[in-house]
Symmetry: D2
């Protein structure tokens, strides 16, 4: 059975930073687990493909792959198979991250594949109109990240709140099921608070945590902030 994620959700995208590769990825994963245990808030990590198997053996918080390909088992050298990330311990995958954008028909196929494998699908979108399109494909999670803010430290939830409110409205109009997250520039607890107030169910965060001096401390603060009513 597919793991049900408890909201609010904080997803930490490890990307391909050196700070979140190999042993350092494992160490970061354990800090995320500790922060999740301490606060009771659902923290999900998304490490690099290569690190999924080792990390999944060592932590109990959920893991998402950063991508899977729109393929069935077969002759697809260099691609990422749903069955492989599942057997390694991932419970789902990011899809269409702005740094790994996909053709529309691939997104459709991948969401179908996740359903067949009982994997959680987190479809990433760059703007509200794309969020409404992707909602028609019925992913479990829609995460809005304006690419121009990624890595800037300028939080979408503070700088462009209307992007989030529009996304929430457009997604709900088409499909009430997806959990809605936001990302891009989230770096302070107040950015998290703003995201929750605007109607999201959590955040997708990367460099702020991965490159933090003390990722555990910052995750604690982020997690506590999500609880504020």
């Amino acid at each position: 059975m597919k793991l049900k994620l408890q909201e609010p959700i904080i997803i930490v995208n490890f990307k391909t930073y050196l700070e979140s590769t190999g042993n350092r990825a494992l160490k970061l994963a354990k800090q995320a687990e500790k922060a999740s245990n301490k606060t009771g808030v659902q923290i999900v990590i998304s490490p690099q493909f290569v690190d999924i198997g080792i990390i999944a053996k060592e932590v109990e918080i959920p893991l998402l792959s950063q991508h899977i390909d729109a393929i069935n088992p077969g002759s697809h050298t260099g691609h990422v198979l749903a069955a492989s990330i599942k057997e390694s311990g991932a419970i789902g995958t990011l899809i269409n991250h702005s740094e790994r954008q996909l053709k529309l028909s691939e997104i459709d196929t991948i969401i179908d594949i996740t359903k067949k494998h009982n994997l959680i699908s987190c479809a990433c979108v760059n703007n509200p109109s794309v969020s409404s399109a992707v909602s028609a494909l019925d992913p479990d999670i829609v995460s809005i990240e304006p690419p121009e803010l990624i890595g800037t430290g300028i939080a979408v939830s503070k700088a462009q709140p209307e992007i989030i409110t529009n996304t929430v409205e457009l997604v709900k109009k088409i499909n009430k099921r997806p959990v809605i997250l936001c990302g891009a520039g989230i770096s302070k607890p107040e950015d998290v608070a703003a995201a929750i107030k605007l109607g999201t169910n959590g955040i997708l965060v990367a460099s702020a945590i991965v490159k933090a001096k003390n990722p555990y401390d910052l995750l604690l603060k982020f997690a506590e902030t999500t609880k504020i009513p």
Copy 2:
């Protein structure tokens, strides 16, 4: 220091077959190791990204990734970082497999990256003229695989020997350093023998081994065949 591969070389490409995913990948890796130990022939395996770490811990034969991306560490969600496959235990990577073809400038960048990380680069090509182009970029290995024969059981070394002899000639004219392998349709020991006779230093094989009833037995035969003078 970069592991020096001893010729002849048999590379087993696990692709994304279910028979070579997760636990079954590990089992296959162990059979390859056993065949290598028994024959003294260099057998190299190329499992899926997700399986590299676990397999590298359990076997002593060399592992290649099936692909890496032309990236440096940073914001590249869903991509494959050289440092990550290296830390997991791979000693190199396939590049530009016909199922994962790359832009010319990416191949150039990736070969540079492998040199910086002391990783072995195995550049795959679809025909002799492309083999000569890629040789100018100085990969460690050039592997010729006419895509129309992949998975057919019709061996390039039997059906189109001139493709191999042309490749050997064109590569040597431009760069004497690369080891030359051939693949596509290799399914019987006699295909291996033909490849060696035509001047290659070994083979790249996938479905014939991965989907064999007894991969160990077939690898034994392939390995023994490579020794025939």
Copy 3:
């Protein structure tokens, strides 16, 4: 002002057949114009980029480009600019044809660009769920073409009518505005009749017309068939 297309609509996609290149493209365009004039049915042609300008000078039926890129004017060597196809005489463009699939965010950007340039957008989709996703982006036309039937002579409207009825239903649920066409395998007047009966507003056709012995005659029959109530 954007040309308003009158329904039913027959779009003839010239693809990159030799039979619809250069002078032969112009000849075919004139036959389409003649069939349109004779029947009063809206026939739209979609020639290759290079042929748009010459054909637009010689015929009065509407022209669509086969693709435009998600770009603004600038440094984009080898790409197709909305302003260039418009100035040459096209009144719109196909988007995301199954032979020229696009990333979701590109489809979104291109539809925006067509709106800014008063160009007609015809978004092509491969299945009903993708048709619903694309409808959220508000194209003028949605054309459903299951890629596995393209060029087969097996008409989607006869072989898989449920694909069309599902598409019509899903599109309408999300956006009542788009005109709905269907394609793939349309080769006989009865295929056209079936498409209309299933609730579409016309068809997208390619090889059946382009490679017909007498394209004018077949277009006449197709056009007459669309009028049957």
Copy 4:
């Protein structure tokens, strides 16, 4: 028979600037023709696909397409067919421009296609090692353009002369046939002079000419400069 280009060569890449679209493209083409006639220097223009046919009817200087696809005639909606650009009046094509990069096997296929159609192939490369790789595929022209300088006004021939001399050396070592051009940042006559002195046979230029107040005057100066021994 393929038009033989007389060296030195100035190629003006129209890219997708508004200043070089439609009527303005035609006007610019005529200025290029006038400058070529006045100086006797070979000026070649590379307009957008859509504009090739109209311009080729109006000027007598050679035209290159900005790109063609690695396809044969057939079902390739939205692609660019060699036969179509040839019938429209182009005598060749740019290949693999840094803004339209291609897979290695595509470059190989496209150069083959140009040979079959007696079209001139101008392969663009981003650095010296890629120039040597592409030379093995035997294009008629190799044009080196470091992408980081494109559009900067900082000329490669002044800022990084070693890139050009390395390219000339590496190309010649592999294939003596290709004409060698350089581009990126060329904006003043002295940049042209530097390029010629470094051993190239001419230049590839875009924004400096397209966006010049008086493209004719600047082309005159560029052309005269190429004559300096």
